[in-house]
């Protein structure tokens, strides 16, 4: 559906994108992951035709953006990082404008009603956009991208600045879109991407550093299981006791304060050592102050994937 080939973008001497290539299949939900300034927005802006690449091509459903800009743009619904809203318009008027601008051929009233219902705006059609909260503005931006049911939908950090409830709603929406559309969506939050996407591309410094199915990538993540423990008592005793637990592979003391010590316990994948840890601490009479599973943050993953994790750092 989308084919990106050898895309390079330079701003003067700065290379924002360095020879990026990837394809997205029809109906796939692709997550674009990377730290700020990695080139996510630049890539999306090029695919949607907002800016042009220095070299390389983008083909959407067989048509190239530079050769047939109108035809290609008609196939893409785009929600940029900052929703392009005219704040002095009402929600309904704005969507009517975008409907006309995109030359959508569907019956106007029914289609607008449907899209507004889908994003939960049906009660807010008459409100001025400038009076809407950030979450609702994001929904208007979303609605705008969905107009005309384009086969490709591109969302640039759609959940930034939303409250947790809204994030979950948006995530659900993205998942449901995946049934009918090809979706690319970017974020710098790993959990969000892995919850909604079939496939993840990790991008950093303008280069693709990982491109894998979500389950494969989370497999990469889960081969290193960690339990973080804070317990009161002698650090050395606790460490010894923990090492005796069968599935534990490595115990590392990460800190000590006020008579309590913190440990990072690595254990075999698939095992559950929480009960063993509990009984071990009970035997030592060391109260557990905190116990949680340590998941790898995007930063750690990113650092690990770029091969720059050095002992003790990160």
């Amino acid at each position: 559906m989308i084919e990106v080939k050898n895309l390079t973008k330079r701003y003067g001497k700065i290379t924002a994108l360095d020879n990026i290539s990837f394809t997205v299949d029809t109906g796939e939900v692709l997550g674009f992951l990377g730290p700020n300034g990695a080139g996510k927005s630049t890539t999306m802006n090029i695919i949607t035709g907002y800016i042009s690449s220095t070299s390389g091509t983008v083909t959407v459903d067989g048509s190239e953006i530079l050769e047939e800009p109108k035809k290609t743009k008609q196939k893409i619904g785009y929600l940029p990082e900052i929703p392009p809203l005219y704040i002095d318009m009402t929600v309904r008027k704005y969507l009517e404008f975008m409907f006309d601008l995109k030359r959508v051929k569907l019956p106007k009233k029914e289609h607008l009603d449907e899209v507004m219902r889908l994003v939960g705006l049906e009660q807010h059609g008459a409100r001025l956009i400038k009076n809407l909260s950030k979450g609702y503005r994001q929904r208007v931006g979303f609605a705008q991208a969905l107009l005309g049911n384009p086969p490709v939908i591109i969302l640039d950090e759609p959940t930034v600045g939303l409250d947790p409830k809204q994030i979950i709603e948006i995530r659900k929406l993205i998942k449901s879109l995946g049934k009918k559309h090809t979706v690319i969506f970017s974020s710098h939050v790993l959990s969000e991407i892995s919850a909604a996407c079939d496939r993840i591309i990790i991008i950093a410094d303008g280069k693709i550093i990982a491109d894998a199915k979500t389950d494969e990538l989370s497999g990469v993540l889960t081969d290193k299981r960690q339990l973080l423990l804070t317990a009161e008592g002698s650090a050395a005793d606790i460490q010894n006791e923990l090492k005796k637990i069968p599935d534990v592979q490595k115990v590392k003391k990460t800190g000590e304060s006020d008579g309590a010590a913190q440990f990072a316990i690595e254990y075999k994948p698939g095992a559950d050592i929480r009960r063993d840890v509990f009984s071990a601490m009970t035997r030592l009479q060391c109260p557990i102050l905190e116990m949680r599973s340590g998941s790898e943050s995007l930063e750690e993953l990113y650092l690990r994937l770029t091969g720059s994790v050095k002992g003790g750092e990160a």
Partner: protein, 234 residues
């Protein structure tokens, strides 16, 4: 293009700009109409039109200051540029939007013509010719100011530069006489808007004047398209 034109128009009336521009234009044209026609007991609108030139120079930058600068600042240009419309359509839609408001302003002169007709026979040919001149002049200045707006992200800068450009045009005729180099003087005279506009106020409809204003309009709209195009590639 239709969608952009409609939005521009509604934009002018959703904010105060449309009303303010109309009010200022109507106020000053009414004032000049009173001073030159009623006070002096004259049936000629010539002086009124000549003076409106200054008002036009100030209200058009206000009308067009937002066109591209504000789109860029609010990032709404992303919606326009990623939609299936060409840059030319975007520029034309905005141009026609501003021009429509301006034409509404100028239409007041028809009313003045009718008012005069109660007292004397107005020279309709002169009135209509001047009105045409005013519309053409406005077109050129609107195109120029849209171009200025496309160069900056700040609408205040766009408005101030636009007004400054208007003053330059206004002083061009006196300035060109001071330049000692003949060919520069010649060029300045040839691009002096007032030279062409004044003919209309005498009731002289010359194809050269019409073509001048249409070319200036076309040229600046073309420049605007190029600015937008260039930004995409930089």
């Amino acid at each position: 293009m239709g969608a952009i034109y409609k939005r521009e128009l509604s934009g002018y009336f959703n904010s105060a700009i449309g009303y303010v521009v109309l009010a200022v234009y109507y106020f000053f044209s009414g004032l000049f109409f009173y001073l030159y026609c009623f006070y002096r007991d004259s049936a000629s609108l010539g002086y009124v039109f000549a003076n409106m030139f200054y008002i036009v120079m100030f209200i058009i930058p206000v009308l067009t200051m937002k066109t591209f600068s504000e789109e860029r600042r609010q990032k709404t240009d992303q919606a326009l540029l990623t939609s299936p419309v060409s840059l030319t359509e975007i520029v034309l839609g905005k141009f026609l939007g501003a021009f429509t408001i301006y034409a509404l302003c100028c239409a007041i002169f028809l009313v003045y013509g009718v008012v005069i007709s109660f007292f004397a026979q107005p020279q309709w040919s002169v009135v209509l010719c001047t009105l045409l001149g005013m519309l053409l002049l406005g077109m050129a200045i609107i195109a120029m100011n849209i171009f200025i707006s496309s160069l900056t992200e700040s609408m205040v800068v766009a408005a101030v530069v636009g007004m400054a450009a208007g003053l330059v045009i206004d002083t061009m005729s006196s300035f060109s006489k001071l330049v000692p180099i003949p060919w520069v003087q010649f060029v300045l005279e040839k691009i002096d808007f007032l030279n062409y506009y004044t003919n209309f106020t005498y009731g002289i409809l010359s194809i050269v004047d019409v073509i001048f204003f249409l070319s200036v309009t076309g040229l600046f709209l073309f420049f605007t398209v190029r600015v937008l195009e260039r930004r995409r590639w930089s």
